[in-house]
């Protein structure tokens, strides 16, 4: 298994190079001139040219690419065009808050999602099932933006239990993590329910019951464990998305995460920041997929990686 993991990790190199080339091309293909934007309204052509030279954008694109990659390989991702801070620092400052929020939200999502999914599968076609599934439908459909502002109004303005915005203590996590968690929980619940229903009809479940295994053990050990594969897949995907930062929730709760950084960087055509962030997101996705694949083997011993 470790050999397999190592082999998968070596695949990262061509992936990251591919991503870097693509992103480099894309950010330059979309219209918009960073020098013009930075120079601002009312800037003269001379000022714009000065900014362009300052940013090194007067060089040939190929030269710019190798310049960026050459430095990136040595761990220097350049300076943000807008804030003049090193890109690594700019991202580093926001990576941890994003990881924290994504992790806490995923925990919320997993706890709510799997519990609701299991209950509604086991109690199929009862009001337990209907409540859980209507809840999931609402969870998927509700705009997170609206939910966030409503929660804020209720729990921060009307009843002053949590801070309206900000980052720092556990209290700051409650509303954003719940908002994000509910959205993710809904799809996890639906996947769990579907997978559980399939498994509950299998012969080995009947066998387990026939030999007198406790019903709770049947459900959680024999059924749920075998139903986990699609659930782990969807959970991994959701986690990947959350790690990319969540623009809406970040801006509503003033969370200093990667999502707002990316949006600002794209709007300002801050090339070094966009490039580096995209490579980071690609890296995160590859790693999460790898972890998910390895988890398959843990969940189902029949799966082997050689």
């Amino acid at each position: 298994m470790w050999q397999y993991a190592l082999r998968r990790l070596t695949h990262l190199i061509p992936i990251l190079i591919g991503v870097s080339v693509l992103i480099f091309l894309f950010v330059r293909m979309i219209p918009g001139d960073p020098a013009r934007l930075l120079a601002g309204q009312g800037a003269t052509l001379q000022e714009i040219e000065m900014v362009r030279q300052d940013l090194g954008l007067d060089k040939k694109p190929v030269a710019q690419y190798f310049d960026y990659m050459g430095k990136a390989l040595r761990g220097n991702f350049g300076k943000s065009m807008m804030t003049r801070l090193p890109v690594a620092k700019e991202i580093g400052l926001r990576l941890w808050p994003t990881v924290q929020l994504a992790t806490v939200s995923m925990v919320v999502a997993i706890v709510i999602g799997i519990s609701a999914g299991v209950v509604s599968a086991v109690k199929r076609n009862t009001w337990w099932d209907y409540t859980a599934m209507v809840g999931a439908l609402i969870g998927v459909s509700i705009p997170s933006f609206w939910l966030a502002l409503m929660l804020m109004y209720l729990l921060a303005v009307y009843v002053r239990v949590f801070p309206t915005f900000g980052y720092g203590t556990w209290r700051h996590f409650v509303m954003p993590a719940f908002t994000l968690g509910v959205g993710a929980a809904a799809s996890i619940a639906r996947f769990t329910r579907a997978a559980m229903l399939e498994v509950l009809n299998q012969d080995y479940v009947r066998t387990a019951r026939a030999k007198g295994v406790q019903e709770s053990k049947v459900r959680l050990k024999h059924a749920l464990k075998n139903a986990m594969i699609p659930v782990v897949t969807i959970t991994g995907l959701q986690f990947g998305f959350l790690l990319g930062g969540t623009v809406v929730i970040e801006s509503v709760f003033q969370w200093p995460g990667l999502g707002t950084l990316l949006v600002n960087a794209v709007n300002g055509r801050d090339y070094p920041v966009v490039q580096t962030l995209m490579m980071l997101f690609a890296l995160q996705f590859v790693l999460i997929n790898l972890v998910v694949d390895l988890l398959y083997a843990v969940i189902d011993p029949r799966i082997h990686y050689a």
Binding site: A43, V51, R84, V157, R160, T164, V252, Q254
Partner: protein, 532 residues
Amino acid sequence: MINTWFRFLAVAMILGLVAGCGGGAATPKTDSATPAPAQQPATPKKTAAVAATAGDAIVLDPHDTNDNLSYGIENTIYEGLVGFDKDMKVIPVLAESYKASDDAMTFEFKLRKGVKFHTGEPLNAAAVKKSFDRVRDPNNKLRRYSLFGPITSIETPDENTVVFKLSEPFGAMLFNFAHPAGKVIAPSGVDKGKDELARNPKYGTGPFMFKEWVQNDHITVTKNPGYWNAAGAAKVESITFRAITEAGTRTNGLKAGDLDWVLPVPPVDAIALKTDPKVKINSAPSIYVFYIAYNMTKKPFSEPKVRQALNLAVDREAIRKGVLRGFAEPVTSYLAPNVGFYVKQADEIKRDVEKAKQLLKEAGYDGTEFELYSANSTERKDLAAAIIQQLSEAGFKVKSVPMDNASLSTNIWTQDKDHIKVQMYLGGWSTSTGDADWAIRPLLYGKQAPPVGYNMGFYDSPKANKLIEDGLRTADPAKRAPIYAELQKVLWEEQPWVPLYSSQNIWGTGANVDGAYVQGDGIVNYNGIYFK
């Protein structure tokens, strides 16, 4: 065998706890936003103000700034030789007095004595020279270079006198000195350079001193105990600027009391907040004029009757009252009323659809569809939609083309006289120097058409061009006034735009907060903020 599900759950919960609490020590705490105790027994007067801004500052180097948000924060730390008062009139700040030569080529400032920078260095002629030498040197590649580029030499005849010499007459130069970029930076700061000044603005003379900047979270400034001007000294111990992009969050923060001062407040929220006793909503006219520019070099807009029809087809009153909920002023000249040399030309143009239709018929407009370019913010798109609806009632066919700023600017600046892309453009402009020249020249001077400037309609009127040039030949207000009066008349007659309205700045404060205000140019003056 232990159930996998429970193991999984346990691991997930531990992870969550670690992530949720582990970072606490290493990361900045945001005390200001934690809820206050439910009961407050006669709380002592607050001394730390929290102001919300619509985003994070970009850099805090006045010479390298071009956004109002950053300027507002810089204004608490840095001061210029001259500045603006509440009504955008130029007033002396670090200079005691100033005078301009008749030919508008020499500007002399007498410095105030006894002023010290936050670093302890004294403010003297050499320091002022060093600061302005920095911004006017093209090799430093500073974004506000062009404001001070016309300076050819700076002389310091004595400790407290600075004389600026220009390469050519520039009557509006005093306004450039008053511009928020005309700040004096301490010599040690100039030596440290661009990266230091961008992030650590510790080199001013202002009523507040820089304390910290936590990226994307907050910026804090604290009272300067040694401020030179007792009358203008800070009335609070500190101001924290919180970057909050979402308008709904700013509104909730204000209601909850987590925020003392909020700009901007959207018109809809402003109306809702007016009934809240804990909140005060303020509005004041800006010096922004919103307009539609159209390409004057090509048919049909080269035809005066079509331009007249456009102007008559728009229902300005409906836009002000409906789209902007009353937070706008009628436009009565190409200058906003608070800009110097403003002369009212007429009442707001009234809508006359029948006459517009008639004029279009006479001009022979064939119903060709035009694209109206604008920014893609919700507010701007709503405005464009309302205007297009009104124009269509008079027989114009117009399509809205909203774009993000970067794409919009590329479309505008890759065109020239022979390659027109943008036929109609909806935008707003304020003169960042507060002077009439910068309100008109970048937008309506013949030599400022793209790709050079912002004259989106390629308007090139010999009459207007000459008056624009004349206005800069002298710094004497008595001589400039009649020139700009005439210029406004010419513009009103030739109609290079559909002038729409002049906007208002809307800001909200706690009911117990006062003293800070928004200038006409949209820049906040936080210095006087206090709690009642």
